[in-house]
Amino acid sequence: MEKKVKVYSTSPCPYCIRAKQFLKDNNIVFEDLDVSGNQAAAEEMIQKSGQMGVPVLDIDGEIIVGFDKEKIKSALGI
């Protein structure tokens, strides 16, 4: 079954861009939440990850802070 993937990001953040590109390259469908214009998403991200750095990925409830390729791969099972 396809995993539910959310990416919390800001538009200028380089590792957010690369994380999203990585997901696209691997044909992973994800919800893109820009926390700069979306206060509710920002609070959700801070509450889930306990920190304020972007990007944060939520892969079926597994929270990954930063563009950590290996963790993302293992969470996605790819």
């Binding site: 200028p12 380089p14 590792y15 690369r18 700069s36 972007v54």
Partner: protein, 302 residues
């Protein structure tokens, strides 16, 4: 034993790897990340061949170029030691040991830290070194920017549109950044400048709630929800203590990228080469790889 170990995968390390691969050297690249500081650069308009490209895009091009060759790559791995034992050079990392006939140190620079209590605890919990990335998360808050150079002024200018109040805390008597940026910052109603002031501590519970500073001989606490540290860069040369370094901890190289230890070369921002630019780092990386190749040919290894 490898022909060549390259430490770092920024413009210098990646260019060196491409040159080494084309010379058919047995090469391995060990790096914490790919792209180095290029990833953090905003808009780049001075890398030859690209009239305009963003930092992340150029870094992706570099990575693509490297991956065109069968270059071994150890990502998320940091060098911890470097020494020459007889004719072999040993690179220690946080995950293992590697041996080679030649090494290129291209480990670049990192953000300088404040080294005050609370800094470690509040990293990414209100304290950040990347205004470009994280500024939007501080919408409507009161924040402090630490520094007085161009990067600090640039951070303040970005934040002026987002936050409610900025304290700009500068350790020197006056800013060192460009006058045009200084004027922009000083004329803003929401910016308060404290020159000749020093940060003593970052405080808070789960997230930053304030900073303690000292100015005019007295300590005071400023209530802020964010701290942006923009106090320059430090070379990643701590693991290479056996190499001669200058007063800024940059590795000394000659015009052939040779260090004081034969067989060990260095390139890019970690070295004392004048001017730190992406195009210069790339050029230095190619020189170092060609130097290492020549060294391999000229030396007999048992």
């Amino acid at each position: 034993m490898y022909d060549l170990i390259i430490i770092g995968a920024g413009p210098a390390g990646i260019t060196a790897s491409v040159y080494a691969a084309r010379k058919r050297m047995d090469v391995i690249v060990i790096s914490k990340d790919i792209g180095g500081q290029t990833v953090w650069s905003g808009d780049i308009e001075n890398y030859t061949g690209y009239q305009f490209i963003t930092g992340p895009d150029l870094a992706a091009k570099f990575e693509e170029h490297m991956k065109k060759f069968a270059i071994q790559l150890k990502e998320n791995e940091a060098a911890a030691g470097l020494k020459k034992v007889g004719e072999k050079i040993v690179v220690e990392t946080d995950k293992g040991n590697y041996e080679a006939k030649t090494v290129i140190v291209a480990s670049g620079k990192r953000s300088r830290e404040l080294n005050v209590p609370g800094e470690e605890k509040f990293k990414n919990k209100g304290l950040t070194y990347c205004a470009t990335c994280d500024a939007p998360l501080f919408n409507g808050k009161e924040v402090a920017v630490i520094g007085g150079g161009n990067s600090a002024l640039d951070a303040a200018i970005q934040l002026m549109r987002i936050v409610k109040k900025i304290y700009l805390i500068n350790i020197t008597k006056q800013f060192t950044g460009d006058p045009i940026m200084q004027e922009q910052v000083i004329s803003s109603k929401i910016v308060t400048v404290f020159n000749d002031a020093q940060v003593n501590e970052i405080i808070g519970d789960k997230f930053v709630s304030g900073i303690k500073i000292k100015r005019s001989g007295a300590e005071e606490t400023l209530a802020v929800g964010g701290v942006f540290v923009e106090i320059g860069l430090l070379p990643n040369s701590d693991f290479a203590k056996e190499l001669a370094q200058n007063e800024f901890s940059e590795i000394k190289v000659n015009s052939r990228n040779e260090t004081n230890i034969p067989g060990i070369f260095a390139a890019g921002d970690v070295t004392d080469v004048p001017e730190k630019q992406i195009v210069i780092a790339a050029g230095e990386g190619s020189k170092a790889a060609l130097g290492a190749f020549r060294y391999l040919i000229q030396h007999k290894f048992s």
